[in-house]
Amino acid sequence: MSSNESSSTPVKSTGLHVGAIKPGVAKKDPILVADGVHRQFGGLVAVDVEHVEIPRNAITALIGPNGAGKTTFFNLLTGFDQPDRGAWSFNGNSLAKLSAFKVARRGLIRTFQLTKALGLLTVMDNMKLGSTEQTGEKLSASLFPFLWKKKEIEIEAKALEILTRFKLDTKRDDFAASLSGGQRKLLEMARALMTNPELVMLDEPMAGVNPALTQSLLDHILNLKKDGMTVLFVEHDMQMVRHIADWVIVMAEGKVVAEGAPDEVMKNPAVIDAYLGSHQDIDLGAVTGRITLPKISKEK
C-alpha cells in the first residue's frame, strides 16, 4: 500500500481561495456553494450560513464547538433535512428541495456521526448495497437473475478490492453487527466509496477510533483526494485536522465565523475563543494543575 508515504508527507493543496481570506471567501474552483442557508428549530437558529464555498479536490474540515450546527448543516446539504430558506448548488446544479436519495445520486455521499452499518446484512452485502445503477434493484428485474448476475459479479470484485484496502476482506461474510465500532466506521466509508462519489462528507470519522486505526483512516481520506474526490469532514481531533485538511471552515452558533488554511485558522483569536481554547497545545494535566510539565511551565 502506497498510502503510508502519502500519510507521512501529505501534499497540501494551497491557493484554493480568491481574494482576501474572510468567512465565505470565494474559491477558485468550488464544488459546493451554499447561500443564505437558514434552519431554525423553534426558537433556536441551528444554521444560518450566509455564504460558503467548498473547494474541489481538496480536503476541507468543518470544525466548531458542540451545537455549532455542523451536523445540521450536513443534513441540510444532503437533503436529510430541509432548510427554512436558502440555496445551495453542487457542481453548479441546485440541490434545494431535492430528497436525500436524489442528492446521493448526484455524487454527494455522506456518512453519519452515529455509524449506520446495516447490522443484519453481511459486510459484503453492505458494500454491494452501495453500488449504483443496479438493474437487479428494480422490482421487475429482480425476479430474473440473468438480468443482473453479471453486474453482481462486477460489484463483488470491486467491493472486495475496496474491502481489502480497508482491511475488512476477512470479514466479508460476517454480519456488520459483529464488527467493532471502528470497523463499522471503516465499513461505512468503504460503502460510500462503492457509489463512486465526487464529494464525500464524513461526519466525525475519527470519533471512537483507536490511534492505530485513526492512522489508517487518515491514509484512506488522503487517498480519496488522490483519487480525485473532494472531502468535507467534521472533526474535533485538531491534530488530524492540522495534518490532513487543506482548508478549514469554523462554525459557531450556526454561522461560519472563520475560514482559512489550518495553521492560520488555528491562530485566529476568534477561533481560539469560540472553540479551541487557549490551552490547545498544553497537556490536559497541566491545564488542570495535576501535572507540571517542566517545558511548559518554563515557557510560562
Binding site: I109, K116, G119, L120, L129, E137, P145
Partner: protein, 338 residues
C-alpha cells in the same frame, strides 16, 4: 375420549385450505416485517379485502371467479397505497398504529348495515363460490370457483386426508398458489431488490444516503405483502363464506404468532409456522374439551375450548423472549430484538 379422532382431525390441518390461507398471509407479513421492517398490525384488513373483493365481484358484479379474484387483489393494492402514502414517511411504529386502525375501519365498514346490500352486513356473504358452495340458493354465484373444478365428484385420499372433490380442488389450487408465492418471495429477497429492502429494515437513512428511493421500496414491499394477504383472504373465501367477524385483530395476532414461530426473516418459516400453529390450535381446541368432558379438567367444555388461546398467548411470550429468530431463523439474525 377418542384420541385417534382428535389426532386425525388435528393432522388434517397440515394441508387444510385454511392453513394454506394463513400461510399465504403470514408470508405477506414476512415480506412486510421480516424483510422490510414494516410493522403491519393490520394484515386481517388485507385478507378481508381479498375475500370480500372476490365475493362482491361475483355476487354484485356477476364476474367470473378469476376476474373477481383480481378485484380482491386490486382492493388490497389500493389499500396498501392509501395506507402507505401518508405513513411510510413516518417512523415504523406509526405504521403499526395506523395499520391496526385501518384494518378495524375496513372490518367495521364491512359490518356496517349502511352497505348491507353489498357486504351482507353482519351476516356476511355466501354462495359466491357457485352452486355447491352453499346449500341455500343454488342459482347465485354461477361462474364461481367451484364450477371450475375438473375433479369428478367423490371422496379421495385416506384418513386423515379423506376429502371430497371440492376440498381436494381447493387444496391443489392453494398449494399451487402457495408454491408460486414462496418461490417469488424467495427470488425477491435473494436479489439485489431484497438486499435494498433488508437494508431499509436495518436503517433506512443509511440506504437513503446511498441513493436508493426508500419510499418507493417500502411501498413495493407493502403492496407485495398486502397482495399475499389478499391471496390468503381469497383462499379463505374459496373455502367458506365470508364474514367480517373472521377478520378481526386477533386474526392478525395469530398470523404474527405463526410468523415468529417460523422465523420472521425466512421464506419457509411462515409456512412451517402456520402449519405448526394451526395443527396445534386444532389439537388443543379438541383436546381440552375432550378432557373436560371426561372430567379430567375442572372446566366446562366451552371454557376448556378457550384455554388454547391462553396457551397461545403464553407461547408467544416465551417465543419472543427465548427464540426471537423463530424455529428456522438464523441464530445470528435476531430480527425481533436487536
Amino acid at each position: 375420549m377418542d384420541f385417534l379422532a382428535i389426532f386425525n382431525s388435528s393432522i388434517s390441518f397440515i394441508l387444510a385450505p385454511t392453513t394454506i390461507a394463513y400461510a399465504l398471509a403470514t408470508l405477506g407479513l414476512a415480506v412486510h416485517f421480516g424483510f422490510g421492517g414494516l410493522l403491519n398490525m393490520g394484515m386481517a384488513g388485507f385478507m378481508a379485502l381479498g375475500a370480500y373483493g372476490y365475493a362482491i365481484g361475483v355476487l354484485t358484479f356477476g364476474l367470473p371467479w378469476y376476474f373477481a379474484a383480481f378485484v380482491g387483489i386490486g382492493a388490497s393494492v389500493v389499500f396498501a397505497l392509501i395506507l402507505g402514502i401518508p405513513t411510510l414517511r413516518l417512523r415504523g411504529d406509526y405504521l403499526a398504529i395506523v395499520t391496526i386502525a385501518a384494518a378495524e375501519i375496513v372490518r367495521l365498514l364491512l359490518l356496517s348495515s349502511a352497505f348491507g346490500g353489498i357486504t351482507g352486513s353482519a351476516d356476511g356473504l355466501s354462495g359466491f363460490n357457485g352452486p355447491g358452495g352453499t346449500i341455500t340458493n343454488p342459482t347465485v354465484g354461477a361462474g364461481g370457483f367451484n364450477e371450475s373444478n375438473p375433479i369428478p365428484p367423490g371422496d379421495y385420499g385416506f384418513v386423515p386426508f379423506l376429502d371430497n372433490e371440492r376440498t381436494w380442488y381447493l387444496r391443489i389450487v392453494g398449494i399451487i398458489i402457495l408454491t408460486l408465492a414462496i418461490f417469488l418471495v424467495w427470488r425477491l429477497v435473494n436479489s439485489p431488490w431484497g438486499r435494498v429492502i433488508k437494508g431499509i429494515r436495518e436503517d433506512e437513512d443509511a440506504v437513503r444516503s446511498l441513493g436508493k428511493n426508500v419510499f418507493a421500496y417500502k411501498m413495493q414491499a407493502l403492496i407485495i405483502g398486502g397482495v399475499l394477504g389478499a391471496l390468503g383472504g381469497l383462499m379463505l373465501a374459496f373455502s367458506t363464506n365470508v364474514n367480517s367477524s373472521v377478520y378481526v385483530t386477533s386474526l392478525t395476532f395469530f398470523l404474527w404468532t405463526a410468523l415468529l414461530l417460523g422465523g420472521a426473516a425466512t421464506v419457509f418459516g411462515p409456512l412451517a409456522g402456520s402449519i405448526i400453529f394451526w395443527v396445534l390450535q386444532a389439537f388443543l381446541g379438541l383436546l381440552f374439551p375432550a378432557l373436560a368432558d371426561a372430567g379430567l379438567m375442572p372446566f366446562t367444555t366451552i371454557q376448556a375450548a378457550q384455554i388454547k388461546y391462553i396457551i397461545v398467548g403464553f407461547a408467544l411470550v416465551l417465543l419472543v423472549v427465548y427464540r426471537p429468530q423463530g424455529l428456522f431463523g438464523n441464530k445470528k439474525e435476531l430480527t425481533f430484538v436487536k
